[in-house]
Amino acid sequence: MDMNKKMKRGDFIMLMATGLVAVGLFLWTGSTNMFRRMARSDEAPLIAKIEKDRELIREIDLTKVTEREQIHLEDDNNVIIEVETGRIRFLNSDCRDNICINTGWLSQEGQNAVCLPARTVVSVV
């Protein structure tokens, strides 16, 4: 077998371009969020949006939440979203990967959790 299968010039150019795009995007989104969080005052509302099938289902000001609440979306995936003071998360979804649940609590501007099978997005803005 020919083991001398070296990577070629195009490969390296592609890898470098990919690295630049990935790092660039990462720095851009990361710094935008950082500046927004730094510019935020403590009393400012922290709005969480729950969207399903491109429609806004609920908007909650997380700073005004006083007691824990569970929001049942009553859909095919039995999505349950849990809200506490200052934070929100996916508590349950019957999808396969559970990426939405594993994302955990969202408590800062710019964070979001997505359940693609349930076409549901929770974002903090």
Partner: protein, 171 residues
């Protein structure tokens, strides 16, 4: 290549692609990032590109996507698997048939994985009506390089071995 031989190759590649995809779906392979998979069927797409004409490559990919979608997540996910599968196959085929001098099989496989992941997140953005999910793009690009390299290395070895043994030769 005779018509019968060509059809036989298509059938062999399609059945293998379906089996590999199903195996990947049912056998849990722990990867550090949830939702990421190796995309082992990409190995078969690479073989198809090397040994078949362009239209038959697309046949192999489309049939695999259809069967796997019906057997696993349902036809509703076809929007994701078909767009990603077909677009990455087109890009890999063009790179292989036109720009082979500049790209290795590993590189072509990585390019396919990059196109696949970018396409899927674009489809997801349409489905969800949310641009924000492009936040995930950097992670997806980096994992595409890793998974593309792995499937590309396997594909390269298989192609070498097949050429050496004369299997699927005289195209």
């Amino acid at each position: 290549m005779s018509k019968h031989k060509r059809n036989a190759i298509i059938v062999i590649l399609v059945t293998n692609a379906i089996l590999i995809s199903l195996l990947e779906f049912f056998v849990f392979i722990p990867l550090p990032i949830p939702g990421i998979k190796l995309g082992l069927a990409n190995i078969i797409t690479l073989l198809a590109i090397v040994f078949l004409n362009f239209r038959y490559v697309i046949n192999v990919v489309v049939i695999r996507c259809l069967v796997v979608a019906v057997l696993t997540r349902g036809v509703l996910t076809l929007a994701f698997s078909l767009t990603g599968g077909v677009l990455s196959a087109i890009v890999m085929a063009i790179l292989y048939k036109r720009f082979r001098r500049f790209f290795s099989i590993k590189g072509i496989s990585i390019a396919g994985a990059l196109v696949h992941n970018t396409t899927q997140i674009t489809v997801a953005a349409f489905v969800l009506g949310q641009i924000v999910i492009f936040y995930y793009l950097p992670i997806l690009l980096i994992s595409a390089v890793v998974t593309g390299y792995i499937t590309g290395s396997i594909g390269e070895r298989v192609i070498d071995e097949m050429e050496e043994q004369g299997v699927l030769a005289n195209r």
